[in-house]
């Protein structure tokens, strides 16, 4: 019981902080809009896939990108928490490390979901139409990305002691995950090397699942996309809770 109350406290803190940092929310909305309007609009003037406009085509990928950035950096933020004495106040509470990890993770998921919801509302401007089914599938996949990548960020952040590695994480984790996922291009007719890499990247299946639900014509059946997403999340949650147990205070 007390662990659950503690979990609520940790989540509540992240939620409150998120609501108060309005500049962060604004920035996280403007970034995907630039992708959709400038990049999607520019390239979309030249190409389209059947009846599907390019902006609509990259829409699920851009939601994923936003969630990916928000979640990973939310997790990495723990490096700053650790350097200030603020996080010690949490570590000294009579709560298990697992509770602390899950509380942080749920907090990060909530932030990411709220941002994604704003983007979802903007979907119709980019040629997206929703059905209750497609909306449901979309939200489930976003939840999977948020939970998985927040855990990934927390796992890395709990083992780092400074911000020096942040640039590396952007170059070697976030951008490859995004660009090699089929977020910006169709998954068929790829050169062999790219074909192989996209099939290894778990985010490929998540984008495919979202796009399939919104626009039809998925590359993989839904159960494959969902299956990969579930494994992706479970593995990273496990990694995160182990990393938190081992984290030095």
């Amino acid at each position: 019981m007390s662990e659950l109350v503690g979990l609520y406290a940790l989540w509540y803190r992240e939620f409150k902080v998120f609501l108060r940092e309005k500049s962060r929310i604004l920035a996280s909305i403007v970034n995907p809009l630039i992708w959709l309007v400038a990049y999607g609009g520019g390239l979309g003037a030249a190409i389209s896939f059947g009846e599907v406009g390019y902006q609509a085509f990259i829409f699920p990928g851009v939601i994923m990108l936003t969630t990916l950035f928000t979640s990973i950096f939310f997790g990495l933020y723990i490096v700053l928490d650790k350097r200030l004495d603020f996080f010690k106040e949490v570590l000294i509470a009579p709560l298990s490390r697992m509770t602390i990890f899950v509380g942080k993770m749920l907090g990060g998921c909530t932030d990411a979901m709220l941002q994604a919801l704003i983007l979802i509302c903007l979907g119709p401007f980019f040629g997206i139409t929703y059905t209750p089914y497609s909306l449901g599938v979309l939200v489930i996949f976003i939840l999977f990305i948020a939970a998985g990548t927040t855990s990934l960020g927390l796992t890395i952040g709990s083992q780092l002691n400074s911000f020096e590695g942040f640039g590396l994480i952007q170059s070697f984790v976030i951008l490859p995950l995004f660009f090699l996922s089929g977020a910006l291009y169709p998954l068929n007719n790829l050169p062999d090397w790219l074909f192989i890499i996209t099939r290894i990247n778990p985010l490929t299946y998540i984008v495919d699942g979202m796009r399939g639900a919104l626009l039809g014509n998925p590359t993989f059946p839904l159960y494959v996309d969902l299956g990969v997403a579930v494994v992706f999340v479970l593995v990273l949650i496990a990694a995160g809770s182990i990393a938190f147990k081992k984290m030095k205070s």
Binding site: S2, V5, G6, Y8, A9, L10, Y12, R13, K16, V17, R20, E21, L80, L84, D85, F86, K88, E89, V90, L91, I92, A93, P94, L95, K248, S249
Partner: protein, 326 residues
């Protein structure tokens, strides 16, 4: 529980923390009684914070054991954590939240029963006189107010032991005096045992019932501030003398100790006022004379051959500033 001595709320045996090439805490033995205000005094890097963090279960010891409120810090950290409240060196409250919210979150994390939360928060806010600022964000607080909030937070779950790591670091003298008043009030009214690390002599002298002087991870002296000073003598004379005749002085029966260093003579004696005339006559021509009671700084100087430099906390102050400017 330890059983043998129920009054000892803290018991530490051969507690040691080694890092790669540094022994931060070196086989420390210590017992602290319930209700005491106990000071850990020493220069920066002496191992005070490391010792405190081991008591708080934040870092595991390399060797030795510590019992806090009867619970083993290694085997039973959850119960230790329930027994302690801690105020950290750097600000640890969330500046984006209000004072009330910080306290509320703490009450949730530390398992304060639901029906007591509001009442406890109101009580501690009153104790540190922050009631009228409770609903403003911590960002708008001064350094001293933030410290008071963190003190209040440390008390929220009614801990039996309060661990304070340099509680007045970086505060101006007036605010420091205020914080001391609060700490004394807490020890009296809430009957908590207080363990405080400091490198401010005055803090240790005015606040603490007993003081352990720590250097290089070892306790080199432990007693009440009065007794520690008494060991040097009731008073001391510091003088600059050309060609001092020390042999004569050493023979006087009320002189306990004589030292010469860098052209300065230090004389410890049982009663300074009535003998200063005689000493100066015998000593030689003085260009400077000071008669005073010994301070803990003199004790430290005697024990280690160096002074605790009060302004040497640069690293920590920078840390403090950084944390504040977030």
């Amino acid at each position: 529980m330890i059983g043998e001595d129920p009054l000892m709320i803290i018991k530490v045996e051969k507690l040691t923390k080694k890092y790669k090439d540094l022994t931060a805490v070196d086989h420390v033995d210590l017992t602290i009684e319930e209700g005491e205000i106990f000071g850990l005094l020493g220069p920066n890097g002496a191992g005070k914070t490391t010792l405190l963090n081991m008591l708080a279960t934040l870092i595991p010891p390399t060797e030795g054991v510590a019992y806090v409120n009867g619970y083993d810090t290694i085997k039973d950290p959850a119960n230790v954590r329930k027994s302690i409240g801690m105020v950290f060196q750097a600000p640890s409250s969330d500046d984006i939240l209000t004072g009330y919210e910080n306290l509320y979150l703490h009450s949730l994390m530390f398992g304060v029963p639901k029906e007591q939360r509001k009442k406890r928060i109101a009580e501690v806010l009153k104790l540190v006189e922050l009631e009228d600022r409770a609903n403003q964000r911590v960002k708008t607080y001064s350094g001293g107010m933030r410290r008071r909030l963190e003190l209040a937070r440390g008390l929220l779950h009614k801990p039996k032991i309060l661990l304070l790591d340099e509680p007045t670091l970086g505060l101006d003298p007036q605010t420091r005096g205020h914080i001391w008043e609060y700490i004394e009030k807490l020890a009296r009214e809430e009957r908590v045992t207080v363990i405080i690390t400091t490198h401010y002599m005055e803090e240790a002298e005015t606040l603490c019932d007993r003081v352990a002087i720590i250097d290089h991870g070892r306790i080199i002296a432990l007693d009440s501030p009065e007794n520690l000073k008494m060991k040097l003598g009731k008073s001391m004379i510091r003088a600059k003398i050309k060609d001092p005749k020390l042999d004569l002085i050493k023979g006087l029966n009320y002189v306990t100790k004589v030292e010469e260093k860098d052209g300065e003579v230090m004389i410890m004696l049982n009663d300074g006022g009535s003998h200063i005339q005689e000493i100066l006559c015998n000593l030689g021509e003085a260009s400077f004379v000071e008669l005073r009671e010994p301070t803990l700084n003199d004790v430290f100087l005697q024990l280690t051959g160096k002074e605790i430099r009060e302004e040497s906390a640069e690293g920590e102050i920078e840390r403090y500033a950084r944390a504040n400017g977030r």
